[in-house]
Symmetry: C2
Subunit: 249 residues, 2 copies
DNA sequence: GTTACTTTTCATACATGTACCAAAACTCAT
DNA sequence: ATGAGTTTTGGTACATGTATGAAAAGTAAC
């Protein structure tokens, strides 16, 4: 509460003209070691201690290059986002929005550990240019469709909530229960359906009970991008009118 | 990896006719102790060790009443859900859906720790009757509006993704950073806006940069229930037609 | 070279969730 | 009452993230 890790923390990489001891380990080396662990052992093995060992430094040394584990993951996300193809910025605005959201979704599905961090309040301000391109594409699409800035932000946020919710419910949770090590198969995260609800009491939950065994199958279906389009339509139908969820200041 | 905590675990409360030593501590006592900690010290203090101390048993004894921490939280959620008012099941289906979703959202906003657990795959099957009432209300509303069962499941899932995404991004994350103890003020979780994006390069992210300082204000606006309604409209517009995100089997 | 100062490095410590296992405690059939 | 079987209990141990603060290692001024 009092001490705030008082020393110099998380220098970008080369502090301008300070004087002290030069770092033996660079931020790039640490990120490289992290990527090595990710590829070799799976993301569940990416712990601070293991990373330090992989980088050949003491555990706490890492904390001079990253603020905390969360910061490490965000830096990794930004590195990985650099490899995403830039989103399309021309054509039908609605298509662009769906395409950008889908690309965001697919990236997260491939890196489920990233979702762990992307629920952090204010994470947007820590994203790099590559990751922000997707956000920009969605907002631009909404504005081009006729949304006010306030509405465009609302469109982006709704899509983001939907996306991160899907990822967390479907992908991340599977990893939490996976038990040991690596993801089951990496990309095909959506294999295990929700369980059957067939044993419900029809007098209490008639509709759920009626769906019963089919729930698992239905709930396992992918919702990207077709399912997304439906509610993007709903969001965009409000374009131009006031009150998209609150008045603009 | 090999041993699976082999003994009998997580007996509901009174196993039918088994023989062994009777438990000195009941599941109800443990849940009561957990609620006491929640109220007195805030949810961040609800650790397994502290709970054991509060209940007056050794740490590992808890694991005979709950499978793990996650299980404990789910049992708590079910207890708390019992106090929710039952959702309305008559009237305009669209209104019912929005009302049920809003009630679900408000409950989660009040218990941010619950979201930690509700991204677990298959959590639906561990919900009690009270919590399931909300799910039933949403599915029933969709069916009454003319959705096929497959579409109704899709509507529910979309709403759920959106809701849990919002909660995790806006509420849960704030708690993760809060540092010590209790939520800032309990119900009003949505006080701290996303940071400004005003320092972006307009040549790279023109739309985001244009929104700039206003981003924080806009992103802090509540999206329930008005924002939800917009995309529920979009989802329900598909009612009756095939392919709501995949064909029904 | 010596001194003062800054920064990096890392050993130690603590709280956490929980696996493992041995001992205790109880019921029931005999 | 005794022995067999079963369950509960809790001590010990490990991996985790990270706070703290001392020691080491460099640079700059003299």
């Amino acid at each position: 509460m009092t001490g705030e890790h008082d020393g110099a923390v998380t220098r970008p990489d080369a502090p301008p003209g300070r004087t002290g001891r030069p770092p033996r380990t660079s931020r790039a080396q640490i990120l490289a070691a992290a990527r090595r662990i990710l590829e070799r052992d799976g993301w569940e093995k990416l712990t601070i201690r293991r990373l330090a060992a992989e980088a050949g430094v003491a555990t706490m040394t890492l904390y001079h290059h990253v603020r905390d584990r969360e910061d490490l993951l965000i830096q990794l996300i930004n590195e990985l986002a650099d490899q995403l193809p830039p989103p399309d910025l021309s054509g039908d605005p609605r298509d662009r929005i769906v395409a950008a959201a889908t690309s965001m979704h697919d990236a997260l599905a491939a890196w489920p550990w990233a979702a762990e961090v992307l629920t952090t309040d204010g994470f947007l301000s820590r994203l790099g240019e590559s990751a922000l391109r997707v956000v920009e594409a969605i907002v631009a699409g909404a504005v081009d469709h006729g949304c006010t800035p306030a509405q465009a932000v609302h469109v982006y946020r709704s899509i983001w909530y939907y996306t991160v919710g899907e990822i967390l419910v479907r992908a991340n949770s599977r990893h939490r229960r996976a038990g040991d090590g690596r993801p089951a198969e990496g990309a095909t995260l959506f294999s295990g359906p929700d369980p059957s609800l067939g044993d419900l009491d029809p007098s209490h939950q008639p509709h759920l009970a009626a769906i019963g065994d089919r729930w698992g199958v239905l709930a396992a279906q992918d919702t990207y991008p077709e399912g997304l389009r439906a509610f993007v339509d709903g969001l965009l139908a409000r374009a131009g009118s006031p009150e998209p969820g609150g008045p603009a200041p």
